[in-house]
Amino acid sequence: MKILLVGNPNVGKSVVFSRLTGVHVLSSNYPGSTVSYTNGFMKLGGEQVEITDVPGTYTLDPTCEAEKVAREMLGHGDLIIDVVDATNLERNLYLTLQLLERNTPMVVALNVWDDARHHGIDIDLEKLEAALGVPVVPTVAVSGEGMKQLVEALPRAAVPSHPARSSAERWMAVGEIVGRVQQVSHRHHTWKERLADATLRPVSGALIAAAVLAGIFIGVRLASEGLIARVMDPLFDGLWAPVVLRVSRLLGGGGLLHDIVVGDVAGETVHFVESFGLLTSGLYVPIAMVFPYILSFYLALGLLEDSGYLPRLAVMLDTLMHRLGLHGYAIIPTMLGFGCNVPGVMATRVLESRRERFIAATLISIAVPCASLQAMIFGLVGQRGGRYVLLVYAVLFLVWMGLGFVLRRLVRGFTPELLIEIPPYRLPSPRAIVQKLWARVRGFFVEAIPLVLGAVLVINLLYSFGLFDAIADFCAPVVTTVLGLPRESVAALAVGFLRKDVALGMLAPLDLTAGQLVVGSVVLAMFFPCIATFIVLLREIGLRGLAKSTGIMLAATLVTGGILNLLLD
């Protein structure tokens, strides 16, 4: 049996899903955090049933890619759990009636039930059940309240015969039901809501947005640097370095195997970044340099997502984003891209038009550095002075703006206007924040670390077989003349295709000037997205889109790198 979780965006379907299946899916406080479906299983009366978390949709007449996914999935379900936001009964019931017309057995979970009561909304459950003809269960998915009752109600799922209606008739029916079952005690705007409105007003909103973004940037940096200096470096220097030295001696202090395992270790000090062995750079780069940034960035992002601020940021940035051929909501995929480009590009599905998705995905893959690369930029470029780090960010920001400006003119199609629901502010639940952080950190350890180790291994093998020389000879003219980087950096650029952090690490032993390091960082950020991003780009914008995007990327990288080289030389 297959159960589908269906409902409006941001009503808590993913939270219900996690509660029912124990499978953790990312959930946030903004419409569209689920862009593709997730499957999980639960036991129901001794039977194993499959549950699918369907992306949110306001109507079954799809208006964007994520809604199309939702509509297509409906054909494959044996039972629907319609998750309804009790604080927004009227709008939610429209979809409920549409679902009921499809003659699939259904149960309604009346979620956010606690908020509804706080808002003075009183819903008569018995009357609602009678009007809909299906079981209605009040739930508070975040705390787990009502989940047991929801599961118990599943066998009672009913197929009432609702007539097919036109949209006007459906709204009439909704209005009639709401009038019968819901009582709202009138209530004045609280000071909290007035404060919330301030985040949307032009002047106060812009100041708050600037403060929030600057706060994240500075906060993530300080937290990560602290973690590196106080925990990671002492751990590696004090505990791990002696082990590495012992292994180095055991392996005879040289030879291919020695170089692969511990890398270039000479004497009694271990240079963890430069040595390039599996046990040195292979572990130090991802764990000591990148992981602290992953941890603090995703903590900040999680808080931002769950608070409900992101859609407000989208409103504040809408006017700017329209100059780039996007609308404000594209800021959400962009913010995700700062963690990792892969979920960033996938999240472009919340955008309505093909043109917007192409522009947003291209801009993310070119001008938005992922957390791993940013960690290395802070770590390596930061050693030469904070102003160089700022220079890298300033250049990437200009590229983002400039490229968007050009793409808006070049890419045909239209960009629809912003039309989004702004969820209420919620105090993020610590439990949800920790769970989400854990899921993302685990993802990093499971996916990134093996890839880093693999990259280090491949680099060592290619070096020892002299293959890099062949590639380097081929690309060297462009790299040395246009970008002003030494011939050896070709290898680093090539490795950027596997892992950006390792690639930047490869520039460390090359004795680059600060200017060259800035050029190298910018080029690595813009040049070929890593292979994982490449694959999702192919999936999201298709082969032709990917080809175009790659052409744009090559041109933009050479132009930007070339200009930067001339200016900094």
Binding site: T59, S167, R201, A314, D318, L419, I422
Partner: protein, 80 residues
Amino acid sequence: MQEGNLVTAAEMADGQRGIVARIEGGQKMLNRLEALGIRPGRKIRKVSSSFLKGPSVIEVEGCSIAIGFGMASRIYARTE
């Protein structure tokens, strides 16, 4: 009782209340707005607008919705 003025959602002042009188636009736009609960007869409150023809935020039945300038200019409301 005095009839209110007819203004667009983009023109409404922050905090002003009104009732949607009519929406000018194609069926697709009407459907999208309707799905979010914006249709003739609904009470709305303007929350904020932005500079340079940016989006307006209006509140319908306790739910805030951000609407681009062009669309907001085609939603006419009778103010209270």
